[in-house]
């Protein structure tokens, strides 16, 4: 019962985190706050992917061989956490960081050129300049 509750609790917390982050991306007008919400959403997705490789066992060991032998293979098969989600998230975090840096560069440059990071005001300046409608 406690295990089921823990499992469901983590899923619900991740869901609510994602909903709050999507709210921030859609409804916040500042581009900086949109970026912060985007990073929260990305991290939530990473935790969800890691969590998909989780299962109840005791003790939990990392999927690393202390030394190559058949005994360790049996121990790892029963107690190791799933390595595939970890491998996918490992690269995903670094790529996410680089993409966030790219977005941050864009926001800073936009602020230097237009003097604001407010999405609505930026659209107004674009309409005034005749670029958008």
């Amino acid at each position: 019962m406690l295990e089921q509750y823990t499992y469901a609790l983590i899923i619900s917390v991740l869901t609510i985190n994602a909903v709050v982050a999507i709210y921030g991306i859609v409804y916040r007008r500042s581009l900086t706050k949109k970026l912060i919400a985007l990073t929260i959403l990305g991290d939530t997705v990473f935790v969800a992917i890691i969590f998909s490789g989780f299962y109840f066992t005791h003790p939990i060991v990392p999927p690393v061989y202390p030394e190559p032998s058949d005994v360790h293979v049996d121990v790892l098969a029963k107690h190791a956490s799933d390595p595939l989600p970890q491998a996918l998230v490992l690269t995903g975090i670094v790529i996410g960081l680089a993409v966030n840096a790219l977005i941050a560069f864009g926001i800073i440059q936009l602020y230097r050129l237009k003097g604001t990071t407010d999405a609505k005001k930026l659209v107004e300046t674009l309409v005034e300049a005749g670029v958008a409608e």
């Binding site: 019962m1 295990e3 089921q4 509750y5 499992y7 469901a8 609790l9 899923i11 619900s12 917390v13 609510i16 709050v20 490789g53 989780f54 299962y55 109840f56 066992t57 990392p62 999927p63 690393v64 061989y65 202390p66 030394e67 190559p68 293979v73 790892l76 098969a77 029963k78 190791a80 799933d82 390595p83 595939l84 970890q86 491998a87 996918l88 490992l90 690269t91 995903g92 975090i93 670094v94 790529i95 960081l97 680089a98 993409v99 840096a101 790219l102 941050a104 560069f105 864009g106 800073i108 440059q109 230097r112």
Partner: protein
């Protein structure tokens, strides 16, 4: 403010009560065993890839081609960011930075971070770690140095953005070479054990995995250090450059 507090309390209540109701109504099964795909990796990684570290084996051997494309995405994202901020030379200023206490402790801490990041990267095929975490850790050392000593301290010691971009190019070329070298013997690209030796001079290097880790370490480190350098350029430089 009270509206936000109410929303927060509601969210926390929802997050804790909804799973309780769900658990009582629906008798769901929680996972109690490793998934079969993960089981395959855990059982066979030492024979397939000669790497005792399953995660690194997946990153650079089983899914090696994916990781190479992800490295390309990383490269393009940082190149795109640097292309937005085109500034040729930053004027060197002296006498800026924090107090001598902060400087001394930063000197020690950044040295420790550099050592540990090298260990993370070069031991990546034996223990948890590898090129991505190691490179990020070393970039953190430069990100500590920049606020304490100022970006000019890095530039004065020869760590300029031009050189960092050159290191990135070298590292990406190295990854490409390691991936394409097996094709000269008619093997597929990103082949590991059929082409590269598992041990060199009695040391387990897991074939191409340690080479990939080394190059990825250089690529990630130089990329994020370049980002930190560009982000720390003072605003006055841009105002002068734009003539405003």
């Amino acid at each position: 403010m009270s509206k936000r507090l109410l929303a927060l309390i509601l969210l926390i209540a929802l997050a804790t009560i909804a799973p309780l109701v769900f658990t009582i109504i629906v008798k769901m099964d929680v996972p109690r065993a490793l998934k079969s795909l993960g089981l395959y990796y855990v059982k066979n990684t030492i024979n397939d890839t000669a790497s005792p570290e399953t995660v690194t084996a997946i990153v650079w051997d089983y899914r090696g081609l994916d990781t190479i494309y992800e490295t390309l995405v990383l490269y393009l994202a940082i190149v795109g960011g640097l292309a937005v901020f085109r500034v040729k030379e930053v004027a060197l200023k002296t006498k800026i930075g924090l107090t001598s206490f902060a400087r001394s402790s930063t000197r020690i801490i950044s040295l420790l971070i550099a050592t540990i990041s090298l260990a993370i990267a070069l031991h990546g095929h034996l223990t948890p770690g590898g090129g991505f975490p190691g490179g990020s850790a070393l970039a953190v050392a430069s990100m500590i140095v920049i606020p304490v000593y100022s970006a000019n301290a890095l530039i004065a010691r020869g760590i300029t953005s031009t050189r960092l971009v050159a290191i990135r190019g070298f590292a990406l070329t190295g990854i490409g070479l390691v991936a394409f070298l097996p094709t000269i013997r008619g093997l597929e690209i990103v082949t590991n054990q059929a082409f590269y030796p598992a041990t060199v001079l009695g040391q387990l290097i897991s074939g191409s995995i340690s080479l990939y880790n080394l190059f990825e370490f250089l690529a990630v480190m130089s990329g994020f250090t370049a980002v930190a350098l560009y982000l720390s350029i003072p605003e006055e430089v841009f105002k002068v450059a734009e003539g405003a």
